[in-house]
Subunit: 399 residues, 2 copies
């Protein structure tokens, strides 16, 4: 019946206060106990006792003294950024990537293992190998493991419902990894955690809501509402790649025709570039690849940077389709920040400006002027960082 | 920095427990103190003292005895549904409506005042008159006032940013009414509160998320996420009426062309019916209105019920446009329940079935099969009930 049952016991209240104090020290940095008390509304003794425990846990340290306001100069507190490492894992299509990440989202060690058609059990073994190596590489206590995976995840039960490429169906990945590593494990869809990365370590630090769109071989979005991943009724929130944009369009792997993915993914872009490869003899495109078959997103990007107008037009076309779908979302959700990640985000303004234009033309004039469309600055690490951010928010309440 | 600063003091903890106990009694009904303790996890003495206060406040009463489980038969508790009345107000386009509503969403007294071109100060006077009369009609203490209004509302500051028809701009309606009536006032956009009505008193009692679409003279949606109204960055969430669906379409009052409102609102439907009125001499449409100028949504509905095929086609066409926009939302938000309200909802299946079909054809097959599109059962009272639900959830935590 939608009731949130909770109880304010002494222990919970203590844990709650400690978490609150940690959050304030994390977000403010260099702060005195008196200021923590002022911001949280907790009493000085409560703050002091919470801080004492956080120092004993190694999470917080006294890192200096502030200016005196008459009496004794106050001791300043800070979170110890490297006191714990987070394991962030990105089960990407072509390789499994992982990293040790500190509490500020700084990557300390990066690892990647190529996938050679492994799926099922073999893919799981590859996940083990990646995490084993990261644990071996760490010289700090590890807080836990965060994972971003393509496909449909039940993020509450940590079960992979369906990941096509890995041939996983209803795999209790979370339970398996917790049993093996004896540490907390959190898993969510790759686009959903990417949105969280942007919130925690990217451009979203001051925002309440954000829409992240990952445009690569597939297209998916992550919706962050009130600084939390919004999963939807069946964990499928963000599935915009298979919204039909042109009912008379190409057949999609999902069974429908003219899905956004068939029009604006990197695969669609490469296919379109292949179709025009032979049309003009003297284009940058012809210089970067010896034949249409050799074209890739990287080649298209190179040709684009060399000024290939055809590629610019193809990117623009893809953007307008993206904009068409994003306009409905921007209008219906009144979300002012749209961040683009994934391999196509490397086209920068050529991608974002037409998206912005399309939104401008498609929603209520009073809403549209605030919508900002930009490229993520987190690059290829975005899913790793998002997985780490998921762990950080779930375990320490930090985001 | 997205930190929710809160403090678990004794008083807050007491208020929290009392509210928790009230919520459980409200949702369960006929429940013993022991069962309340079991469900909430609170101790028996804490529950007893919270119940004593709720009984003293008149909110809860002992209403019977349950079956004995060996010892003394337990006394059963219930919320006193009529202990307070809620004032719910709908500032609709053609008239201002209001009602006294009990804690279960039952309407006790209904009032409406026609608008004769009043706007600005005169419209505010009309609001006063409506509320004055409702207060005079009440024989119970009044909990407060909830208002649903068309236009853009700042629901946190209770300020009407812009309501075109009433010519209100940045009107501190909440402050003005709180000063006049000395009771709590909550205001939100009419479609947003309508969604809340569905959640509290309609089909959404067991749901987490819901999308309500009001299709009348205008088109707007209310998005409920985790049982709360989702407002968006600028309180504009749900503004789907001005999403452009046909860039080459008719001019809209908002300045753009081919907005959803120009294609699927009651105005659009009437306009289209007018255009075909003269085409066939022997249709039900010709029987219900003596000329094209006399057509209204009511006349169209009558003709439709008499089996007018042209009207059925027009409704179908409008539905497909609605479905096109709703498919993007259903796909991106993974919301399984879409409820249609407003005057066009009276077309029932003729409206909802094509919407459902359009969604089915337009989103990922694994997502679509769970999406249910249905007509609201709350009828014309939906905004009044939503305004009451907003008040109820804000003041008593009940929803």
């Amino acid at each position: 019946m939608g009731i949130s049952i909770s109880k304010a016991t002494k222990e919970q209240s203590k844990a709650h206060n400690q978490s609150l104090v940690l959050r304030v020290i994390y977000s403010e940095g260099q702060i005195s106990r008196a200021d923590v008390a002022r911001i949280t509304g907790l009493t000085r003794p409560t703050v002091s006792s919470a801080v004492a425990e956080l120092i004993a846990d190694g999470l917080v340290a006294e890192t200096g003294v502030g200016p005196s306001l008459g009496g004794k100069p106050p001791i300043l507190l800070n979170v110890v950024d490297d006191c714990r490492y987070l394991i962030g894992v990105d089960l990407a299509e072509s390789e499994f990537r992982g990293a040790l990440v500190n509490l500020r989202g700084q990557i300390k060690t990066r690892l990647s293992l190529p996938i050679h058609d492994q799926d099922g059990e073999a893919a799981l073994t590859l996940v083990h190998r990646l995490i084993d190596r990261l644990i071996a590489a760490s010289d700090r206590p590890i807080l836990g493991i965060g994972i971003g995976t393509p496909g449909l995840m039940d993020a509450h039960r940590n079960v992979v419902r369906h990941a096509v490429n890995l041939d996983w169906r209803n795999l209790s990945l979370g339970d398996l990894l917790e049993a093996r590593y004896r540490m907390p494990v959190y898993i969510a869809n790759d686009c959903q955690v990417a949105a969280l990365a942007e919130m925690a370590f990217g451009c979203g630090k001051e925002l309440s809501h954000l829409l992240l769109v990952k445009v690569g071989r597939g297209i998916g979005a992550g919706v962050v509402i009130n600084r939390h991943i919004y999963y939807g009724d069946g964990f499928g929130a963000g599935e915009i790649g298979h919204v039909v944009v042109r009912p008379d369009g190409d057949q999609c792997r999902c069974g429908n025709r003219g899905c956004l993915e068939t029009l604006a993914s990197s695969r669609a872009l490469v296919r379109r570039a292949q179709a025009i490869y032979d049309q003009q003899p003297d284009t940058p495109l012809r210089q970067v690849a010896a034949s249409a078959d050799e074209l890739s997103t990287g080649a298209l990007l190179k040709a684009f940077e060399m000024g290939d107008k055809n590629i610019r037009l193809l990117v623009r076309e893809a953007s307008l389709y993206l904009g068409q779908v994003l306009a409905v979302l921007a209008g219906a959700l009144d979300i002012n920040r749209i961040v683009i990640a994934g391999s196509l985000s490397r086209f920068g303004d050529a991608l974002t400006v037409p998206i912005r234009q399309q939104i401008q033309q498609s929603i209520l004039p009073t809403l549209d002027h605030k919508v900002l469309v930009e490229v993520s600055q987190l690059g290829q690490d975005i899913v790793i960082l998002g997985a780490a951010a998921l762990l950080l928010s779930q375990e320490l309440g930090l985001s």
